[in-house]
Every structure is written in structure tokens, then in C-alpha cells.
């Protein structure tokens, strides 16, 4: 017998309460004068004794209720033979295959310990083998066939994901729920502290699960790693680039390391750097002017330390020409072009090269060559261009429509269809912006557009479109509408300073820059990701257009079916990936292991002990030997408390109820 939370026994002090109350009640009954006792009989005193007995019964029940509650919270247990409780028990062997298990002989040791534990499991017990990192994978289903489990353990190799004990705990909870019986979980892991969740409650295990931790690493290992490389993924101009690398020392002593910048297999620059213990340092390199095309690079530490696999961080960079974007406006409207082009130029967005055109030039325009098309208050488009533009957007292109007097004269929205509800002349003075959807990429970090006045806004029904901004009277000002695989942004005013004074405000530049980047899809091209990241392959609804992903080993990651239907791909391994998205845009990106995996220091012993005790009153050592297990008694005590409460209510009810008076 024992107690897991003996401090709750302090609750037994509450027993004094009913005792005190009963004594108080007795003291509260002073002698009472009565006219005459002539008609009372002394021998009826025996009835009072019965009453006293009932009082004692009531007192005993109340004390029993409180004592049972206090004891239940103290979580008493009794030890029973483990063999006796092994029947119906599921043994789960969980092996950590995260990136850090590549260090030294950690994986080998985990496999060896798991196989040894498997050999100790009785033939009647069912065994399940799982591997966990940031996700949990079942390697062998629950079965009494231990050979399958043995083969799964032997074949397990370390991956490049990040370990998460919260995910493991979640999986164990699910297993216990499905099994509906006792579960003994042996976990073979290097006990990394970075694998612990921020909140301990995420590690909580149900009472049915008993946890035994088998450390795969016994001592902390000094390690240095490249935590991050800051470099743009795409370069549009002929210029030198700065590459900034952040290095971390997970070590107790300072060290001097050589840091190298490698591009396309050639060491570009090498630096010697002093790394302090447990600190971050940054190193800056200068990349020479890049030739057009994709370049694979890395920043690495030399010479290799005790964990050589994390001594480098990959990055990909490509040099491309700026993509053209078309600004279509009426010949008389020069102001819009002036303000828009200057704003884009001022933003420094080199990825876009803006070209202007008027409808008169329309026959020679091919929309497909542009990153996006701006229709700035265009009265009308020639039939051929309107058709080409619609096809361009539906196949994944983007357009930005600004509405003004010319659009109002036409009376309809044009590209996306639908009538205009007003010509914008009915605004009495000016309106300001009432609502702004700051979560949309086009409007991020632009404040509330305070002070911007709109003198003329063309009212239109956005239908099911996502409205990004409304005026103070509720009139839609900016909305995004899906059109096939592409998207159309409608601005219900103009880019000049006649219908509004937006171009005269500072928010106009970021608004134009972010919207242009959004429409051109520049935000969708990250330079590098961490392993297990999910990369989107197509816009929502763009099915039927094939995508392709070639992994670090040159293998195709998508089957034919997945290539036309899958919306994303998970990058399971570190290395370079070549991606051709459904929109036809190609990119190369690098995947690196999560830098937190490089911190090889163990979690605190207290935390691990607390986790080991969070399950069914398990004590790791005893359970590992399978000698005796602890059986919790709190349920029994709660039942006793419940029974005492019911009895107390019944007895008290009988005692204190006043029978109806006969009149």
C-alpha cells in the first residue's frame, strides 16, 4: 500500500468539522421549561438513546464521507503481482526516430533496448511498435506475433523530423482509448528537452497507461549548428547579395570554428569565428553576382563535431528576370499610371516590371506573359482581349480592376461580370474607410487608412466575393473574387487623386507593393523550409492541372493521381526539392532539419519523473522489470464516499423531517 499524493491527507483535518457541528448541536439544546411533566414518562428516555445512536450514525457517515474523499485525493494504491495483471495488457514499444537520434549510437541503442524489452514480454501479451518524431507512425499493429514487432524494430532508421513528446502522449492516449485496457508503454528516446511541450498537460496520460522511459543517450553532447541562413530565395537584378548565417553553440565551453559559405559545390567564402558557450553568433557573407538559374548553397561548420549531420544548413536561390505586369488605362487617364508606377517603383519590388498600355493597343497584347494585369478604369476592351484576359485569369492568372467614371459609363464590371449599382456621383462629400481586413496579404500592416478620403466610389454588388475593405457607410471598396484558378481584385475607385486622395497618403505604396506581390504570387515561393513542413502545390479548386515534386534523391514524390489532385506535399527529408506547381511556376527550395533537434541536452530529471508518474501510478523502474504493478484504489474510495453521502442524506432526512401535524 502507498500513496501517490500523501499531502491530500491533510484533508482529514476536515473530520473535525462534523464532530464540532455535532457537539455544537448538542450544546445548542438547553433545558426547556414545560408546564408540567405529569403526563410524560421517565422510561421513554430509551428513545433518546436511540436518537443518540442515530446521531452517532450520522456523525460516522459524515466522517466516512470526508475521510473517503481525502483518501481518494491522496491516490492510494496497492501493489499486485505484475504477472497477474499482464493478461489483456497491451505493450507499446515507442521508438524515437527523430533527427537527433542520428547522433552517435542513439538509434542503435534504442533498437537494442527495444529488442531486449521485446524478449522479456510474455508470449500471451500483445505488442505494438510505433515510431515517433513530429508525427507518430505505426510500425507493427497490436499482435501476439512478436516476430513482426522484432522485424519492424530492426528495420527502423532515424529520420530527419523533430521529436515531439506531446504527439507521443496524444498517440498513447488514443491507443489506450481504443484498447480499453491497461497499456504498458516503453519509450526509447534520447529525452531531448526540446521535445517537451510548452505545457505539461499535453504530456498527461490516462490511468490505463504506464510509462517506462528508456534513455538512448546517457550524457549531454556538445554540439554546434547553423540555425538559420537569411538569404532571398529569388534575385531579380544583377547585384551582390548578403548572406547572414546564425550559429548556435549547445555547448558548455567556447570553441573556435570555421564557417564556410558553399554555392553550387564551391566554397565561396570561409571565416573563423569564436563561438561562446550557449550563445548565438551571426556571420555575414557576400555572394557574388549570380548567373541566371537555380543555385544550391549551404553554410557549414568545419571541422565536424560530435553530431556532423547538423553542421550545415542548405538554401536555394535563383536568379530570374523581373516578371512583366500590364497596366491598362484609357489614353486620357495619365494620373493613375503616374501614381501607380511611381508607387511600385518606390516600393523596391524588383520582381515586377510594369508596362503600360491603352485599349487602342489591345490587339497586340498577350495577357499570358504577364504576372498580373491592371485594368485602371477602362471603358471597354476589344472582344479578343476580353476573351484572352478571361482565359488567362481562369487558368491561374490575376487581374486588378479599378472602377472610375469610364467604368460607370459602361455600367458593368467587365471581366468578372455583374452590374454597377451607382455611378459614384451620389456621395455628398467624402467617405472614409470603415472596415479593413488586415489579415489579407494585400492589407497587412497598413493601419486603418486613417485620413484617406474617397470622393467617388462606384457601388457594385460583390456577391460571394471576400470583401477586404468597406467605406464608413458600408459600401464595398475592395474585394477579391475567385475566377477559375485565378483571382480578380476589384477596387471601387481609381488610382488617381481625383476620386480619392489615397495616392497622396503613405499607405498607397505598401498597398500597391503588397497587392502586386500577392497577385504575382511572389509570397508563395519560400526559399527554405524545415523537414515535415507542408508545401502547397495548387490554389484551392485548381484540380486537373498537374504538379510535380522531385525529392532530394531525384525521386518523384507524387504518383500520377496525386500529381493532378494533391493540394500539398510534406517534405519528409532534408535536401533540395524541385517543385513545379499547378500554376506552371517552378521553384527549387531546400528543406533542413528543425534546428531544435540540434540541442542534444536532456530534459530535466524532475520533468521526466513527473511524466513517468502521470499515468496509472506507474513507477518506471518497477514496471520495467515487470515485477509488481500498482493498482489505484481511488475509484473504490469515491464509491464509498458516494455511498456514505447517499446514506447520510437518507438518515438525515428521516431524522430531521417533521411529520405533518394532525390538527
Amino acid at each position: 500500500m502507498g500513496l501517490l499524493a500523501p499531502w491530500y491527507l491533510a484533508g482529514l483535518l476536515a473530520l473535525g468539522l462534523p464532530v464540532w457541528l455535532h457537539l455544537l448541536r448538542r450544546r445548542q439544546s438547553p433545558p426547556r421549561e414545560f408546564a408540567s411533566l405529569m403526563l410524560f414518562e421517565p422510561h421513554r428516555e430509551s428513545s433518546v438513546r436511540q436518537r443518540r445512536l442515530r446521531y452517532l450514525l450520522l456523525l460516522a457517515l459524515r466522517c466516512l464521507l470526508l475521510a473517503a474523499l481525502a483518501l481518494a485525493f491522496a491516490r492510494p494504491y496497492r501493489e499486485v503481482a505484475g504477472v497477474a495483471s499482464a493478461a489483456g495488457r497491451l505493450v507499446v514499444l515507442a521508438l524515437d526516430d527523430s533527427f537527433s537520434m542520428r547522433q552517435g549510437d542513439r538509434m542503435e541503442r534504442a533498437r537494442r533496448d527495444a529488442l531486449a524489452e521485446l524478449a522479456r514480454i510474455g508470449p500471451d501479451e500483445r505488442v505494438q511498435v510505433i515510431a515517433f518524431s513530429s508525427t507518430v507512425r505505426v510500425l507493427a499493429e497490436p499482435a501476439r506475433d512478436h516476430e513482426q514487432a522484432r522485424a519492424a524494430i530492426a528495420a527502423l532508421r532515424p529520420g530527419e523530423g523533430r521529436s515531439s513528446y506531446a504527439e507521443l502522449a496524444r498517440a498513447l492516449r488514443a491507443i489506450a482509448q481504443a484498447h480499453r485496457g491497461p497499456v504498458l508503454a516503453h519509450v526509447f528516446t534520447d529525452l531531448q528537452r526540446t521535445a517537451m511541450p510548452a505545457a505539461f498537460r499535453e504530456l498527461a496520460l490516462p490511468d490505463e497507461v504506464r510509462l517506462v522511459l528508456h534513455p538512448a543517450a546517457t550524457e549531454n553532447v556538445d554540439n554546434w549548428t547553423v540555425e538559420a541562413v537569411n538569404v532571398p530565395s529569388t534575385v531579380y537584378a544583377q547585384r551582390k547579395l548578403r548572406v547572414q548565417a546564425t550559429l548556435v553553440a549547445f555547448a558548455e565551453k567556447p570553441a573556435r570554428k570555421r564557417v564556410e559559405l558553399v554555392l553550387d559545390g564551391r566554397v565561396i567564402e570561409s571565416r573563423q569565428i569564436e563561438l561562446s558557450a550557449d550563445e548565438r553568433s551571426s556571420v555575414e557573407f557576400v555572394l557574388p553576382e549570380l548567373a541566371h538559374g537555380v543555385h544550391r548553397g549551404e553554410v557549414r561548420i568545419a571541422p565536424p563535431d560530435g553530431f556532423a549531420e547538423d553542421d550545415r544548413r542548405l538554401f536555394a536561390i535563383q536568379r530570374v528576370d523581373p516578371r512583366p505586369a500590364l497596366f491598362l488605362h484609357e489614353a486620357r487617364d495619365r494620373r493613375s499610371w503616374l501614381y501607380f508606377s511611381n508607387a511600385l517603383e518606390a516600393s523596391g519590388l524588383g520582381a515586377i516590371r510594369l508596362e503600360e498600355a491603352t485599349p487602342e493597343r489591345a490587339p497586340s497584347i498577350k495577357p499570358g506573359q504577364y504576372a498580373f494585369v491592371v485594368l485602371s478604369d477602362v471603358a471597354g476592351l476589344p472582344g479578343g482581349l476580353a476573351r484572352d484576359l478571361r482565359a488567362y485569369v481562369e487558368s491561374g492568372g490575376a487581374a486588378w480592376i479599378a472602377l472610375g467614371p469610364a467604368s460607370a459609363a459602361r455600367g458593368e464590371l467587365g471581366l468578372v461580370g455583374g452590374p454597377l449599382e451607382s455611378n459614384g456621383h451620389d456621395l455628398p462629400a467624402f467617405r472614409t474607410v470603415g472596415e479593413l481586413d488586415a489579415t489579407h496579404p494585400c492589407l497587412e500592416a497598413q493601419g486603418r487608412w486613417e485620413g484617406v478620403k474617397f470622393y467617388r466610389v462606384i457601388a457594385a454588388d460583390p456577391g460571394n466575393a471576400r470583401v477586404l475593405a468597406r467605406l464608413s457607410d458600408g459600401t464595398p471598396l475592395l474585394w477579391e473574387q475567385a475566377m477559375g484558378a485565378g483571382r480578380v481584385l476589384v477596387f471601387a475607385s481609381t488610382f488617381d487623386n481625383i476620386a480619392n486622395d489615397l495616392p497622396l497618403h503613405g499607405v498607397f505604396v505598401p498597398f500597391v507593393e503588397r497587392t502586386a506581390a500577392y497577385l504575382a504570387g511572389l509570397d508563395e515561393a519560400p526559399g527554405s523550409l524545415v523537414v515535415d513542413a507542408v508545401l502547397p502545390l495548387r490554389a484551392a479548386g485548381a484540380r486537373g492541372v498537374a504538379a510535380e515534386v522531385i525529392g532530394p534523391g531525384g525521386e518523384r514524390l507524387l504518383s500520377l493521381g496525386e500529381a493532378t489532385a494533391s493540394g500539398s506535399v510534406t517534405l519528409r527529408r532534408a535536401g533540395f526539392y524541385e517543385v513545379r506547381r499547378a500554376g506552371g511556376r517552378n521553384l527549387v527550395l531546400a528543406a533542413n532539419p528543425d534546428a531544435r533537434e540540434s540541442d542534444l541536452r536532456r530534459a530535466s530529471q524532475d520533468l521526466l519523473a513527473a511524466w513517468g508518474n502521470s499515468g496509472g501510478s506507474a513507477q518506471a523502474g518497477a514496471l520495467a522489470q515487470g515485477e509488481r504493478v500498482r493498482k489505484g484504489l481511488w475509484r473504490v474510495l469515491l464509491l464509498v464516499a458516494l455511498a456514505a453521502a447517499l446514506m447520510e442524506s437518507w438518515v438525515a432526512g428521516r431524522y430531521f423531517s417533521r411529520p405533518s401535524e394532525a390538527t
Binding site: F34, A35, R44, S47
Partner: protein, 295 residues
């Protein structure tokens, strides 16, 4: 409307006993909706020639005006009726489970009877007793008698134990003519003993009326837990269980009442149970109804 003034709790708020008596009797009579001439001796009996020393208040001046002779109007009751109230002022009469104790209620009852008697010019007297005779007001119909009676009632307070023998011996010594003797008590004594003590009064031709005054708590005790009870007269202590009080005690008190009533009626006495929790006019109504039947 006047009925509410007969509630014991309302009467207890009236400080002066004469006002209490007037409130009870006038309110009670007003509620009858009929002639108040019943009960004592309101009915005309005869004329008698005036002799020196007679009270001039009773001279019939109409007859004198017509005949120039003095005649006195005589009523039936004046010839043979005198009300004597024996008020038990023992310690047990001081018991009260509500605002009005049994002794208070007994005082109201006695005062009402005196007021009625005085209203009809009957002689009335009072003997207050516990284990001894503590106060005596001899029966009389003279002016100021009502005040003396009420004053004696005011003075009465709960005393010691009860002894019925002494007041009745005193009564027998001073009972010179037949009349009505009203005993107001809680009668905590064996009924045979009580009746044996009172029987000589009945043998002398007087009518005996027993007003058995009991508190509602004595009739229907409502304990919800065991209590240590102390006898108001003997100071004896006894622990009493609620079940006993609710069942067996009730049977015993009802048996006691029934025995007292039966023995009283067998002895030619009137018996009225008076519950101090109920309006005072109930006792009066019952009493006067019986008296009317006797006339």
C-alpha cells in the same frame, strides 16, 4: 371587523385589563347580531317597595312619576346569582409557547366574565390561588367592584405549585348563597382528585364551571429533536424524545382531558377546554350558550 380584536395576540397588546374585557365582551356581543339579554339575570322579575337603605339607582322613576311611590326594579339574577372565579396562578399557568401565557389568557377570560356580570349588575368575586389562597375579592355588585376585580387580576402572577384544596375550603367558608363558581386552571392533577375537591361546592347548590386552559404546545407538542424538559412547578427534569411527544403524550393529554370532562359532567359541572391559541370569544360563546340553556 371586531372579531380580530378577540385574537389573544391582539389582546395581549392592550395594556389595561378593563379595556381588554370591554373589547372582548363588546366585540363578542356585537358579533352575535341578536339581543345580549341572556346569560346572567337581565330578565325582569318583579317590583319591590322601597325601603330605606336600598340603592336609589334601582328605583323605577317612571312608576314613581305615575304613582308617587317608590318601587325598585328587581331582576331574576339579583336574587340568586353571584359569580365567583377561582383563578389558578400556579407556576404551570405561566407557561407560554407564544405571546400569551396561560395565565394571561385566564386573566382575559376572567375579566370578560366580570365585565359581563357587571354589565348585568350581578355580583362577582375572585379567588386567586396556587398552593395557597393568594388574593380574595368577595362577591359584590356594588359600584367599583369591577375595578377591584380587575385590579386583583392585574396583580396575579404565576406562583408556585397547585393545591385545589385550600381555595375550595376558603370558598366553602365564605359561600353564603348559591351562585356560579368558575374555576380557571390547567388542572395538572389527577381528575378524580380535582373533582373530589370541588364536589362540596356543587352540593351546596352552586353551579361549577371548569375552564381548562391549555397552551397549543401542551395539546400538540412539535419537538423535532430530543429535549431536556423542566417541570415549571416541581423543577423535575426529563429528556423527552420527539416521537414520544408526538404520539404517546398526545394520547395521554387527550385521555386526561376526556377523563376530566367526563367526570365533571357526571358531577353536574360544566367543562370547557380553552386553547390559548384560539380566539377568546370561542370560550365565551360556548359558556354563554350553555348558560342560556340553563336559564
Amino acid at each position: 371587523m371586531l372579531q380580530r380584536f378577540l385574537d389573544p395576540a391582539v389582546l395581549a397588546s392592550i395594556a389595561r385589563l378593563d379595556l381588554v374585557a370591554r373589547t372582548v365582551v363588546e366585540g363578542f356581543i356585537a358579533g352575535l347580531h341578536r339581543s345580549p339579554d341572556f346569560g346572567f339575570s337581565q330578565e325582569f322579575a318583579e317590583y319591590r317597595a322601597y325601603t330605606p337603605g336600598d340603592d336609589l339607582r334601582y328605583v323605577d322613576w317612571n312608576v314613581f312619576a305615575r304613582t308617587e311611590r317608590c318601587y325598585l326594579k328587581r331582576y331574576r339574577g339579583e336574587t340568586n346569582t353571584a359569580l365567583t372565579v377561582l383563578l389558578d396562578a400556579s407556576a404551570s399557568m405561566g407557561f407560554a409557547s407564544h405571546r400569551v401565557s396561560k395565565l394571561d389568557y385566564a386573566r382575559y377570560l376572567a375579566a370578560s366574565l366580570f365585565y359581563l356580570a357587571n354589565r348585568q349588575r350581578d355580583a362577582a368575586g375572585l379567588i386567586v390561588f396556587d398552593d395557597a389562597v393568594r388574593d380574595v375579592v368577595a362577591p359584590s355588585s356594588r359600584y367599583g367592584q369591577l375595578s377591584r376585580l380587575l385590579h386583583a387580576l392585574e396583580k396575579a402572577s404565576a406562583g408556585r405549585r397547585t393545591d385545589y384544596a385550600r381555595p375550595f375550603l376558603h370558598l366553602l367558608d365564605h359561600l353564603h348563597r348559591r351562585g356560579i363558581v368558575a374555576v380557571i386552571s390547567d388542572f395538572y392533577a389527577p381528575p378524580e382528585q380535582v373533582l373530589r375537591t370541588m364536589a362540596p361546592v356543587r352540593f351546596r347548590g352552586s353551579e361549577l364551571i371548569l375552564f381548562h386552559v391549555l397552551d397549543p404546545e401542551e395539546l400538540r407538542p412539535g419537538f423535532d429533536q430530543p429535549l431536556l424538559l423542566v417541570d415549571a412547578e416541581t423543577r423535575e427534569r426529563m429528556e423527552v424524545a420527539p416521537e414520544y411527544a408526538r404520539r404517546e403524550y398526545r394520547a395521554r393529554i387527550e385521555g386526561h382531558i376526556a377523563q376530566l370532562r367526563d367526570l365533571a359532567r357526571q358531577a353536574g359541572m360544566d367543562y370547557f377546554l380553552v386553547d390559548t391559541g384560539r380566539p377568546l370569544d370561542e370560550a365565551l360563546r360556548e359558556y354563554l350558550s350553555v348558560r342560556e340553556g340553563r336559564m
